[in-house]
């Protein structure tokens, strides 16, 4: 293992290194903050010959995802990346190419959605792709970003999966944050992830074929959709196999979830992505003060690892699901998914709390975790708990004053 070198890399650079090590053949690209550093770095490597495939600047994310899917249908290894409004702009294409059952890896650098517009992260963008029929891996660290791209190609290209795999990282908190990342030895990556040879029919010159047929009559449509569901579910088994092999090569072992200080935890925070690091720090501090806290981090979001989640949470009393997203009129998007995973099991936690925090990059403070514990202790069980305090309101009041928002009231 000692021949692997370690470097200070941002999440974006780590993603670019993942693509480089995976020897990707084709990258269609369109820039968007905070993702741009990924495609800029790749553009540089394609132009100086470090990477030998083809890189194309597209006119929009819609074209970009279509190009990615079309290229994958020719049997080459494909990568692309986007964020936020770009993901939404390409949404139609995402459903389309996932339905084509073609393998590729894309990175989403999470950034909250308009309106109002911002550059900072939350997970509404990636959650909007939840139902497209893609596999989703969410990264906490820059190392996970790189590793998930390698693992992602293996899952995507597995004949029983044949689907796009999305790797998610938080904008700013990961995309622009440098930390030490182990760069796997290229020759070992080549053994773990050999050049892609498709086992399904692929487009070739002068051999006509269609992938996107129209179907009338629900029976045929349903057949294909149920097949897609089965393939996404199968990706969990494949994830386990591939992860085990990855651990043998590179020594890092990834389960679909990570348990942090869970053994005797009375209060469990369920989190995903980079803020889970803050959650872990809070768990350690709470423990110092005699509060038995633990954290369950989700890595695999689609397929949803119901069994692994149940295995982790059964027997613990109080669970708070911290969603960094908001489905207005409902609450956090992952909360009902976690509750559903446990509903029919005996010995399930007695209390579930939905918590919404980190919207638009708002920091989640260590004190917030203490507040969550207090809420878990109380017998209040109404709607979601928003991590929003007086200081936040003061900040809002300042800008609303400049915008003269109050005036609308006095004139109406």
């Amino acid at each position: 293992m000692n021949k692997h070198s370690k470097m200070m890399l941002t999440g974006n650079k780590a993603a670019a290194w993942g693509v480089r090590l995976a020897q990707v053949d084709y990258v269609p690209a369109f820039p968007i903050t905070p993702q741009t550093e990924i495609v800029e770095t790749l553009a540089q490597w394609f132009s100086d010959g470090t990477l030998t495939g083809k890189y194309t600047n597209m006119d929009s994310e819609h074209s970009m995802f279509m190009a990615a899917g079309a290229a994958a249908a020719t049997g080459v290894r494909v990568f692309t990346a986007s964020s936020s409004q770009g993901i939404l702009h390409g949404m139609e294409a995402l459903y389309t190419i996932a339905g084509w059952r073609v393998p590729l890896v894309m990175v989403n650098v999470s950034r909250a959605l308009a309106t109002p517009i911002t550059l900072e992260p939350d997970h509404n963008d990636v959650m909007s792709t939840r139902d497209c029929g893609m596999v989703q891996l969410h990264a906490e660290t820059c190392q996970e970003v790189l590793d998930f791209i390698l693992i992602g190609h293996r899952i995507a290209e597995h004949p029983q999966v044949a689907l796009p795999v999305l790797v998610n990282m938080d904008g700013f908190y990961l995309s622009f944050t440098r930390e030490p990342v182990v760069l796997p030895e290229p020759s070992e990556v080549a053994r773990f992830l050999p050049p892609y040879k498709s086992e399904q029919p692929v487009f070739k010159a002068s051999q006509p074929m269609a992938r996107a047929s129209a179907v009338f009559g629900g029976a045929t449509y349903s057949y294909f959709k149920i097949q897609q569901d089965l393939a996404v579910r199968q990706a969990e088994t494949v994830f386990h196999e591939v992860s085990e092999e990855f651990a043998q090569y590179f020594g890092r072992n990834y389960g679909p979830v990570e348990n942090f200080m869970m053994d005797d935890a009375e209060f469990v925070f369920v989190m995903s992505n980079s803020f889970a690091t803050k959650g872990k720090a809070a768990v350690l501090e709470l423990r110092k003060q005699g509060i038995k806290a633990g954290l369950l981090k989700l890595r695999l979001i689609r397929p949803f690892p119901t069994q692994a989640i149940a295995d982790s949470l059964l027997g613990h009393h109080k669970v708070a699901v911290i969603d960094q997203n908001l489905s207005p009129g409902m609450g956090g998007i992952l909360f009902p998914e976690i509750v559903t995973s446990l509903y029919s099991r005996i010995n399930r936690p007695e209390k579930f709390l939905s918590v919404i925090g980190g919207l638009g990059g708002k920091d989640i403070l260590k004190e917030d975790f203490f507040s969550i514990v207090e809420h878990l202790r109380s017998d209040k069980s109404e709607g979601p708990l928003f991590l929003y305090n007086d200081d936040d309101l003061k900040q809002f009041k300042k800008v609303s004053h400049i915008a003269l928002a109050e005036k609308g009231g006095s004139e109406s």
Binding site: A281, D368, S371, E374, I402, A403, G409
Partner: protein, 301 residues
């Protein structure tokens, strides 16, 4: 864990400074993390960057509110209530300021929790690099030296790693000389331990519904960009020499911000609350009657 916060302006190399310090710590065998924070703004706008250094894995992310070491690259920011670079600093925070002033002078002017360390980095950057406003190497070196746990050779290696690809060999060499010079001009400090505060809950509030004019992001104030004082983006200040100015008003026509007004006598007047210090006026003045002065000095004239 040592937490370092950097303050400066877009274009001064503040993000690079945080990366040089991060890499230097990493080279010295520490765990490190660095991270810049900036909005959709431009050169001259205030920028914050952070470096965390620890012998054990770092379980933190994002902004640093209570730093162990505060490195202020641009002293004009001390005047800026929006940036408030001293925010979160307490008696245990070591504060370094790039300034020409003495500790006593600067302490009289600003409410430092303890006496700050001072060195004129701009002057040294001007001498070594010919560019007084590029502070990346200088500020990182000041940080590394004050922390005292980073070897000079690891720091020099970090400067090479972070700047080697973008700079010409001669310029890189000058940066390395600058590193040595600043490293030997400062001494290591003992970084006091932060008092451990027991974790308490943050009182959360429940928002009540407000009318849509307040609930939606609507701006009713016409022309409120004037409230946005871009004067705090300035690193250099244009100063008109009225003894020679012949009122040709070329500067007035060329200022991209429209911040030059004409007074009753037909003379150009610069609105320093909005002048962003691009120095286009100075370049355009046919008689070179607009001087360029260092902002921290000009502010007191």
């Amino acid at each position: 864990m040592i937490q370092v916060r950097f303050h400066g302006r877009g274009g001064q190399g503040i993000k690079t400074a945080s990366q040089i310090l991060g890499s230097a710590a990493f080279n010295s065998g520490f765990q490190a993390q660095d991270f810049p924070l900036y909005g959709a703004e431009r050169r001259g706008a205030p920028i914050v960057a952070f470096t965390r250094i620890s012998p054990t894995p770092i379980l933190e992310r994002g902004p640093i509110s209570n730093p162990n070491l505060l490195l202020i690259g641009d002293e004009t920011l001390l005047n800026d209530s929006q940036v408030a670079p001293l925010c979160g600093a307490d008696e245990s925070t070591i504060v370094f300021v790039n300034s020409t002033k003495s500790t006593e002078q600067i302490q009289k002017q600003f409410p430092f929790p303890a006496a700050p360390l001072i060195l004129d980095l701009t002057d040294r950057c001007q001498n070594f690099l010919g560019k007084g406003h590029i502070l990346s190497t200088a500020l990182a070196t000041a940080g590394a030296r004050i922390l005292g746990n980073i070897d000079l050779k690891d720091l020099l290696e970090a400067v090479k790693m972070e700047l080697g690809q973008s700079l010409k060999p001669e310029t890189l060499q000058k940066n390395l000389e600058l590193t040595q010079d600043i490293f030997h001009s400062l001494s290591p400090c003992t970084i006091p331990e932060k008092p451990i505060k027991a974790l308490a809950s943050s009182p959360l509030i429940e928002l009540k519904q407000t009318p849509v004019h307040e609930a939606a992001p609507i701006i009713l104030a016409p022309g409120n960009m004037a409230l946005r004082k871009t004067g705090n983006w300035r690193m250099q200040r244009p100063k008109i020499d009225y003894d020679h100015c012949n009122k040709c008003l070329i500067c007035y026509a060329r200022c991209p911000e429209g911040t030059i007004k004409i007074d009753e006598d037909g003379r150009p007047q610069i609105d320093y609350e909005h002048c962003k210090g691009c120095m286009i006026c100075a370049q355009e003045c046919p008689g070179h009657f607009i001087q360029t002065i260092r902002e921290s000095e000009g502010a007191h004239e």
